[in-house]
């Protein structure tokens, strides 16, 4: 597969403030690419540069091998789904979806057939004459996506379109969006601050922080092998420990906990351990597993997401451990001590 989008050394400055700093990446044709970052990290600016609403300070946006320098938004083969959707309130569903096609001066019959096909694809048949202001949140979402997709863009840009929906609907739209993307095969570039959206839907994710890309990887790799401390802390849950020093292959935390780990780095500063990487009562046969004792402080019950808040025995380091909700661990209570193990590959130092 060829690259449909290439971003080269892209920088954007607003006065003294650098919103996007030397960003490089490429997106494969038909892929689902997410840019994940907290608010204010520059991800929306990056999207607006790709769409053509903001001129880049330096660097280049290349779509299907053509430089987009100086090309206005209406001439770019990309379409955008806005954060607040930006549906035209004075038009009905059909007129909204047909808006872009009318600008192409297509015949009425072709516009009709393309609009109808797109509306049935997003499950909105029979809604043609409805006022967009009378639709529910999820339906508005689909109109906005249909309005952009009907243009058959090379790339569809989505700027946190699920942000305004309630949690249940968001979970549902996540799956729907992913399936829709598979079905039509358009390249999606998706901006979000919600890591679960990015992890579930994407083929590749770029984690953005203070205008720079920290890591571009598959969701699994991002979670399993975060390359920087920021990614380790941002993607998924983590226990974070400040390291005071290392002695040979032993890491010693600020609060005096020592754990064995062959570090590839000379002077690691922090250690990350995921709550779900910890094994309660590890069996004897496991290799490369570090074991240590902990004391349960309290049980934080949250259904499938239940965690044990514990302290590492002999130190004051606090450690969160995921607690599977099965019969094996039902008897745990506060104050109890346990043996816990962690595979050395799951100890991440930076």
């Amino acid at each position: 597969m060829s690259n449909i989008l290439e971003i080269k050394n892209l920088t954007k400055q607003f006065g003294d403030f650098t919103a996007v700093e030397d960003v490089n990446f490429s997106v494969k044709d038909g892929g689902f690419f997410s840019i994940l970052g907290s608010s204010g990290c520059g991800k929306s600016t990056l999207l607006r540069i790709i769409a053509g609403f903001e001129p880049e300070t330096e660097g280049e946006v290349i779509i299907r091998g053509e430089s987009m320098k100086g090309v206005p938004p209406e001439k770019r083969p990309v379409n955008i789904v806005f954060q607040h959707l930006a549906l035209f309130p004075m038009m009905n569903v059909r007129e909204n979806v047909a808006f872009g096609l009318k600008r192409l001066k297509l015949s009425n019959t072709e516009i009709d057939s393309r609009v109808n096909e797109m509306l049935s694809r997003v499950g909105l048949e029979g809604y043609e004459k409805k006022d967009v202001t009378a639709l529910s949140g999820g339906q508005k979402q689909r109109v906005a996506i249909a309005r952009s997709l009907v243009m058959k863009p090379s790339i569809l840009l989505l700027d946190e379109p699920l942000g305004a929906l309630d949690r249940k609907l968001r979970e549902h739209m996540k799956v729907e969006l992913k399936l829709l993307q598979r079905e039509i095969g358009t390249t999606f570039i998706y901006i979000t601050h919600d890591q679960s959206e990015a992890l579930v839907m994407s083929d590749e994710i770029a984690v953005m922080h203070e205008g720079r890309f920290e890591q571009i990887d598959t969701p699994r790799n991002l979670y399993k092998n975060p390359k920087t401390a920021f990614v380790a802390g941002f993607v998924g849950d983590s226990n974070r420990f400040e390291l005071s020093r290392t002695e040979g292959d032993t890491l010693i935390t600020n609060k005096g906990w020592s754990i064995n780990k062959k570090s590839s780095m000379a002077e690691p500063k922090v250690l990350y351990i995921r709550p779900e990487a910890l094994i309660i009562n590890p069996s004897e046969g496991l290799t490369d597993v570090e074991t240590f004792g902990i004391t349960i402080k309290t049980i934080l019950f949250d259904g499938s997401n239940t965690k044990l808040a514990t302290t590492v025995t002999g130190t004051t380091e606090e450690l969160l451990i995921s607690l599977p909700q099965n019969a094996e661990f039902d008897g745990l209570s506060e104050g109890q001590t346990l043996q816990v193990g962690v595979h050395i590959n799951d100890l991440k130092c930076y």
Partner: protein, 300 residues
């Protein structure tokens, strides 16, 4: 406390429903007085007197003669049609001139600067229409500032006759009514999300298409409500046509004024007044119908 006693207690502490109604009526009284005494009753009286003429014995009798007089005399007719046409024209001009201003103030410059410019727009209102009309006389007269300037730089040899023409009348009417177009249009434009404009541009619309298909339809309620105000002000204005338009201005309010105060024919004056009221109501009704707007939406 038993359940029953609790209920009793609640019933006692809740205000009786009547007291709310009394307050409501008290609050409505000034509005009702205003409407009935100052608007409904005088209009009813005018309506009745418009259907009356004095017979040979000096008694008032029912007749359609006042209205028939209007239809028989060509000059009344012409004035009526001219007033309607000019009022529509001035309203259209007011829209064309002020829409870019409203757009500039809401979408282009910062809020802080906009507040300053809006203040500048308001200043003519502080001095009243009469003063601004005389201001225009100073500007437009044969020996006025504009002619003086044009002759001084040698563009014209003798003064251009601007004052006491339809041109000066239209300027006066525009100047006093324009602001009432700016304000409602600005308030709808303010609520227009910039991302709508970006979305349209993203979907391939040119600037002109965005203006035609997004900005104008979106601000239609504001435009229509501004147009109604401007139209009403213009069609019922007396000062600008009378002073700036001079003798030849032929504005229908002048005909009404003449009936009441020059020929003292109050009955015919009342009939003319009602004709003007029907004209303006009719045109506004047509405009609402034609633009697809609802009165309640425009009013808000």
């Amino acid at each position: 406390m038993s359940q029953n006693a609790k209920l009793q207690n609640t019933l006692q502490t809740t205000k009786p429903k009547n007291s709310f109604n009394v307050t409501l009526y008290l609050l409505i009284i000034p509005v009702l007085l205003w409407l009935v005494l100052l608007i409904v009753l005088p209009h009813l009286d005018l309506l009745v007197s418009s259907f009356k003429i004095e017979n040979d014995d000096g008694e008032m009798v029912f007749s359609l003669a006042n209205y028939i007089a209007f239809f028989k005399e060509e000059i009344y007719w012409l004035t009526f049609v001219k007033t309607a046409a000019y009022a529509i024209g001035v309203t259209a001009l007011a829209f064309i001139i002020t829409f870019p201003v409203a757009f500039y103030l809401t979408k282009v410059i910062s809020k802080k600067n906009a507040a300053f410019f809006i203040l500048l727009l308001l200043i003519p209102l502080w001095v009243g229409e009469l003063v601004t009309v005389y201001g225009w006389m100073v500007l437009l007269g044969d020996h006025g500032i504009i002619n003086h300037f044009l002759m001084a730089i040698g563009i014209v040899d003798e003064p251009i006759n601007m004052l006491y023409t339809d041109f000066s009348m239209i300027i006066g009417l525009l100047y006093m009514s324009m602001l009432f177009m700016v304000v409602p249009v600005m308030s709808t434009l303010e609520s227009l999300d910039d991302s709508l404009i970006e979305a349209a541009s993203d979907l391939g619309a040119s600037k002109w298409t965005i203006f035609r298909t997004i900005i104008i339809p979106y601000s239609m309620p504001g435009i229509v409500s501004g147009a109604i105000i401007v139209f009403m002000l213009v069609i019922g204005d007396y000062l600008a046509p009378n002073i700036l338009g001079g003798k030849s201005s032929l504005w229908f309010t002048e005909q009404i004024y003449n009936k009441f105060l020059t020929t003292f024919n109050w009955n015919e004056g009342a009939a003319f007044g009602f004709l003007l009221l029907m004209l303006s109501s009719g045109i506004i009704w047509l405009a609402l119908k034609f633009s697809g707007q609802k009165l309640d939406r425009v009013g808000s």
